[in-house]
């Protein structure tokens, strides 16, 4: 008999877990929101592919896409929604970077807060570089 075998027959009661478990507390809900951000980013990427396809189709096609779709109120609203979700993904991802990645200077590890600070700084730098390329170069 192993350590884990019960001495007598147990009538165990197993509590079912509802599919709506993620509505049970705020952190579970925010987790679902964070995961769902990937859906909106994927949709944006698909729209980007459409935009690039129109770019390949020529000036008229592309301008039609910009005027007829990108400038439409619906697309702008969607853009705002995507931005909100994308920011939520970015913020949570960089916050967790400090916890997930141990960075050592010699023997001493940086504190999670320090790693996170560098992660956010890196994000800012990359964003500025990209914006510069798109606007100026």
């Amino acid at each position: 008999m192993t350590v884990n075998e019960p001495v007598q027959e147990l009538k165990l009661y197993r509590r079912p877990m509802p599919r709506t478990w993620w509505l049970r507390n705020r952190r579970y809900f925010l987790y679902m929101l964070r995961e769902s951000s990937s859906i909106f980013v994927a949709i944006w990427v698909i729209l980007l592919m459409v935009q690039l396809a129109q770019l390949g189709a020529g000036r008229q096609a592309y301008q039609g896409f910009v005027d007829g779709f990108l400038r439409s109120p619906g697309a702008i609203l969607f853009g705002a929604v995507v931005l909100a979700f994308a920011l939520y993904h970015s913020i949570t991802w960089h916050q967790l970077a400090g916890v997930v990645q141990v960075v050592k200077i010699g023997d001493r590890p940086l504190s999670p807060r320090q790693v996170t600070a560098w992660a956010f700084a890196g994000w800012l730098l990359v964003s500025v570089v990209i914006a510069t390329v798109i606007l100026v170069v």
Partner: protein, 248 residues
């Protein structure tokens, strides 16, 4: 003496007479120094000796008294009634585990999984005592110290929705302890533990909900341990594919 009282609503399950758990309410005397365990002990001593529950050290180190209090996994010896007073306090068995009786859960699944990750030092070779002790710098201890604080209280399993929906999942504490030994400079057992950690019910099932870390009474941060292990295991796998000649 204060005549203030608190109301505890407690899960009852007597398998010999019922098929489903029920609830029973008790009124206990209240003062602001009382913890939930004090209230349970009062119930057992003075009101209803039939109530079954686990406890031991009453000071947050043995890990026996984990239960769900108002929906959150807690150590009842470390949870003050004043946090909830004057509202009703609902005490349920630790979530995600089968109930044996009243507030007592069957933890054999956790014990099985703990054994699977071999939570002990597996040195590279058998050193005789004459060769002296293992030595570690403070920095080497720091690499794993946080993860060694686990008291096996299973609050993290109760908090983890992955374990809730997939009972095969090896779970936060087991993975955090595996990581604790993997990070110990005296240990050489990482490859041995990989079997249990990287299987289909192992590391890959964790989606970093992070609730395990929130409820851990010892600040182990099992979520961090798991993500670090995931990254290490993934990097290992990729390097084994892309650079098969490299020694890991």
């Amino acid at each position: 003496m204060s005549t203030e009282t608190a109301t505890l609503t407690v899960t009852r399950y007597r398998p010999e007479v019922e098929d489903q758990p029920t609830r029973q309410s008790y009124v206990v005397p209240y003062d602001e120094d009382m913890v939930v365990l004090d209230a349970l002990n009062y119930i057992k001593d003075q009101l209803d000796g039939s109530l079954s529950y686990r406890w031991s050290c009453r000071m947050g180190i043995c890990g026996s008294c984990g239960m769900n209090v108002n929906g959150t996994p807690k150590l009842t010896c470390a949870t003050f009634l004043r946090q909830y007073q004057p509202n009703e306090i609902v005490v349920e068995p630790l979530a995600n585990f089968p109930i044996i009786r009243d507030l007592v859960i069957d933890l054999s699944d956790f014990l099985n999984k703990l054994g699977k990750v071999k939570p002990w030092l597996i040195p590279a070779d058998d050193r005789p005592l004459s060769e002296g002790e293992y030595r570690q710098t403070p920095a080497q201890v720091e690499d794993y110290r946080q993860f060694s604080m686990c008291i096996n209280c299973m609050l993290c399993y109760a908090a983890c929705p992955v374990y809730g929906r997939e009972p095969e999942f090896i779970g936060p504490a087991a993975l955090a302890l595996a990581h604790r030994y993997n990070m110990d400079s005296r240990d050489a057992g990482r490859a041995t533990r990989l079997q249990a950690m990287a299987g289909s019910a192992g590391l890959s099932e964790c989606t970093y909900v992070g609730e395990c870390t929130v409820v851990c009474p010892k600040n182990v941060d099992p979520a961090a341990a798991i993500q670090r292990s995931k990254i290490a295991a993934t990097a290992d796998w990729y390097s084994s594919i892309l650079m098969p000649w490299a020694k890991r």
